[in-house]
């Protein structure tokens, strides 16, 4: 009834090709942004911001990055936490060695470093495909883990290999309180998510998708696989590298190489599988599912008044979380983003299904 596009005529190509072609969607998105910018910082408690929303936003960005590579270009990677680590350590080194550098520039350069490393480790993808490539990307994970744990220069000769960051300052604005961090992150994530959305709609994104669907055919129609695959690796690693730098500076504050271990790589992969491969929106859903849900589940028994011991609670959390993963994958193997799309289709007909 409310979600209909009757009477909304597209009179130009521009109007036809916009990201959100339906007016209701545009209103929803605008409303969401207004709430996110104007309401959330005032309403949300410190706990909600620091423990739930900040990690959710950063990991959404990382999931977008991985989705560009896996979902759009079809190259599986098990080494993306390593590119997060590259971003984080690059940002740390820039901040420590070049005092007074603008943090946005730090973020950008951290992303570029990660992109270079990502492209380097993307080279095997030109020869190896599918699961074999996934195994090859593990090399990135282990090599980079090893490098940051052993090469002391990267950690500025910290005695135990753990680094810590100073408060971030941007044009004289000290980003200290959770609300300030939230606003900064929200801006970075919104801009980068919009860029990603546009990138996948451009000719670059189309060349990635063609490579994903069938690389031989893509080559035949004139797409250079070297270029498509390496740009996908580089752009993906750029996003993940920026997310890594934000994870270090905005969320952790102090970290060790173990913070970017193989389990983070796997978590990122689960995020896009559950959220929806080849969908920017799905990256957000997936990040929500993997990061926020376990924390909520851990608190449900206490909220409902059950007095469980912590170990029972923690076991229960794992069991329910596992069951939910299986449930969602059975109901919709294409991820939560697909469920969202189906829901929207249904809503168009509602309440008259004929």
């Amino acid at each position: 009834m409310f979600y209909r596009e009757n009477g909304q005529f597209k009179t130009s190509y521009r109007a036809d090709q916009q990201i959100l072609p339906i007016r209701q969607d545009r209103l929803l998105m605008a409303g969401l942004l207004v709430v996110a910018y104007l309401v959330v910082p005032w309403v949300a408690s410190d706990y909600l911001l620091r423990a739930i929303i900040l990690p959710f936003l950063i990991l959404s960005l990382a999931a977008i990055g991985l989705n560009l590579l896996v979902g759009y270009c079809g190259q599986i990677s098990l080494g993306h936490a390593a590119f997060m680590a590259v971003g984080a350590y690059a940002a740390y080194n820039l901040a420590v060695r070049v005092p007074g550098m603008n943090f946005l520039l730090v973020l950008l350069l951290a992303g570029v470093c990660a992109a270079l490393v990502g492209a380097l480790f993307g080279i095997p993808s030109l020869r190896i495909k599918g699961l074999y490539l996934a195994v090859a990307t593990l090399a990135a994970q282990f090599f980079i883990d090893w490098m940051f744990a052993r090469v002391k220069w990267f950690t500025n000769y910290a005695s135990s290999g753990s680094v810590s960051t100073a408060t971030v300052e941007l044009f004289g604005w000290k980003i200290e309180t959770p609300a300030e961090k939230y606003l900064f992150l929200l801006s970075v994530v919104s801009v980068l998510a919009l860029a990603a959305k546009n990138l996948v709609r451009s000719h670059i994104g189309r060349s990635w998708m063609a490579t994903r669907d069938m690389d031989v055919a893509a080559e035949v129609i004139g797409i250079r696989p070297v270029y498509a695959k390496l740009t996908a690796f580089a752009v993906s690693a750029f996003y993940v590298g920026v997310a890594g730098a934000l994870w270090g500076f905005m969320h952790l504050g102090a970290w060790e190489p173990a913070a970017f271990g193989i389990n983070v790589s796997l978590n990122l992969l689960f995020m896009i599988i559950i959220g929806g491969m080849g969908s920017i929106l799905g990256s957000f859903f997936g990040a929500f599912f993997i990061t926020v849900l376990p924390i909520l589940l851990a608190q449900v028994p206490a909220m409902l008044g059950f007095n469980l011991s912590v170990e029972t609670g923690s076991h229960l959390e794992l069991m329910i979380f596992g069951a939910l993963i299986v449930f969602f994958l059975i109901v919709e193997p294409h991820g939560l983003a697909r469920l969202w799309a189906i829901g929207k289709e249904k809503l168009r007909l509602w309440p008259f299904p004929h």
């Binding site: 909600l48 135990s160 753990s162 060790e256 608190q299 189906i342």
Partner: protein, 452 residues
């Protein structure tokens, strides 16, 4: 109409998610009860699940049992204690989430004790902003001993630099003088994490001083697989092996040593590698294995352990099994809780007896701890601990430890009390803390701030 079925599921899932989401914003409700708090709140970060649970559980039980004992004894000058647990699974991100969740509860957390070097590093960053002290008794960053830079950290009774220093001193004594260590080979088999790497600077310093060769052999966490590490040990044949492990890594190392034929009596563990869960499975195979004791060892005969059995377990309030009372890690948790409580008691002497102390007031208590032998004896810690007194410049309070040895059935003390050498550690702490202050752009505290 298969899709409608799916849609119903979707709707159900959405409702469930909505319920979950509405649950979360109740977080701040805890904070609002601040004004009416009549009890001192101690959040307890535990890990009762995961790879490190065998060691985490007795520590947590000891911690909670002591808080129960204080309540049974009438609280801190009449102020009752409240506490609740949060499961971290030894994971840094979950630990930080627990901290955020608990810090505002019940009128505000008094002090946090993460029992994880990773979580300690992360919280060291957050505690000054929230004005909540951290006690890291026997773990955490070694340089946090410097209270002039680390205002909110309290590595009471020892850091890993103290541990490494005492171990080298002990080895020197065994050889008949520290100069006899010249030309010897000492291997450090360590958990490849900040925890395991923490002693390396001190060992390097000592190796330069005495001319022994230091082999660094990392073991990837959690440390179940150590074949390659022990192959290195077998090839290098070090005179001594220092074991810096935690959890399953310790028993795995002992089994590997047994398989490689490395003599266990040449192996020395840090105080987190010297408890019952580490050697129990190996049993006879671990006979002769030595470990540092962070002042206390297994103390089933101490007065405080007997008090717990009588006043807590005797009333059916015990947290864990009875047999565990007095074991090494149980005692570790118990003493950690004692420090937390005694700091508050000390703060009450200044800010008003019988009042609930804020975290900031408690911090003053931890900085001015004066636990002399008489007080410790009164608390039931006679023979368990030595006097501890902290100050602005020294947040550690004491640098003594002993060595105990596993005889196949129990831990026995096999050395005198040893004190770490301040002349080596002090300059290193100063330098490291100054570097941290530089990186974080924090100004060291002034003398006036110390007296406040």
């Amino acid at each position: 109409m298969k899709l409608t079925g799916k849609l119903k599921l979707l709707a159900a899932a959405a409702v469930a998610a909505g319920v979950l989401a509405s649950v979360v914003p109740q977080g701040p409700a805890y904070a609002q009860s601040k004004a009416v708090a009549k009890e001192q709140y101690f959040p307890v970060l535990v890990y009762r699940t995961g790879a490190y649970a065998p060691n985490g559980v007795p520590f947590a039980n000891g911690y909670v049992d002591y808080l129960k004992l204080v309540n049974a004894r009438g609280g801190i000058n009449g102020v009752k204690l409240v506490f609740d647990e949060c499961e971290t699974g030894y994971a840094t991100d979950r630990g930080v989430e627990c901290y955020e969740r608990m810090k505002g509860r019940n009128g505000g957390a008094t002090v946090f004790q993460p029992l994880s070097t990773g979580i300690t590093f992360a919280l060291t960053d957050k505690a000054p902003g929230d004005k909540i002290p951290l006690i890291t008794a026997g773990y955490g960053r070694a340089d946090t001993q410097d209270g002039m830079v680390f205002k909110w950290n309290f590595p009471l009774t020892g850091t890993y630099w103290v541990a490494a220093d005492i171990l080298i001193q002990h080895l020197g004594k065994k050889e008949g003088g520290l100069d006899r260590l010249k030309g010897k080979k000492i291997a450090l088999v360590y958990h490849d994490s900040p925890y395991g790497k923490e002693p390396i600077p001190l060992l390097e310093e000592r190796s330069k001083m005495h001319g022994f060769e230091l082999l660094q052999i990392p073991v990837t966490a959690p440390g179940v697989e150590q074949k390659s590490a022990w192959l290195q040990v077998r090839q290098a044949r070090p005179d001594y092996v220092l074991l810096w492990g935690w959890g399953v890594m310790n028993s795995a190392a002992l089994k590997e040593a047994q398989a490689t034929g490395y003599p266990r009596d040449k192996m020395y563990g840090v105080w987190w590698a010297g408890a019952e869960p580490d050697v129990k499975d190996v049993g006879e195979g671990a006979k002769g294995y030595n470990a540092l004791a962070l002042q206390h060892g297994a103390e089933p005969n101490s007065k405080v352990a007997k008090d717990i059995l009588r006043d807590v377990h005797g009333k059916g309030q015990g947290t864990g099994p009875k047999e565990e009372v007095g074991q090494v890690l149980y005692m570790r948790g118990l003493t950690a809780a004692m420090f937390a409580v005694e700091g508050v008691r000390r703060a009450q002497e200044r800010y008003g007896k019988g009042k609930v102390m804020s975290a900031e007031q408690a911090r003053w208590g931890y900085e001015n701890l004066a636990l002399d032998q008489k007080k410790l004896d009164g608390l039931g810690f006679a023979g368990v601990l030595r006097p501890i007194s902290t100050s602005c410049a020294d947040h550690m309070g004491s640098a003594w430890a002993r060595i105990h040895t596993w005889d196949g059935a129990k831990w026995n003390f096999t050395s005198d009390w040893l004190q770490a050498d301040d002349q080596i550690i002090k300059p290193m702490v100063k330098a490291s803390a100054a570097k941290y202050a530089g990186e974080k752009k924090i100004a060291p505290r002034t003398v006036a701030d110390c007296q406040a």
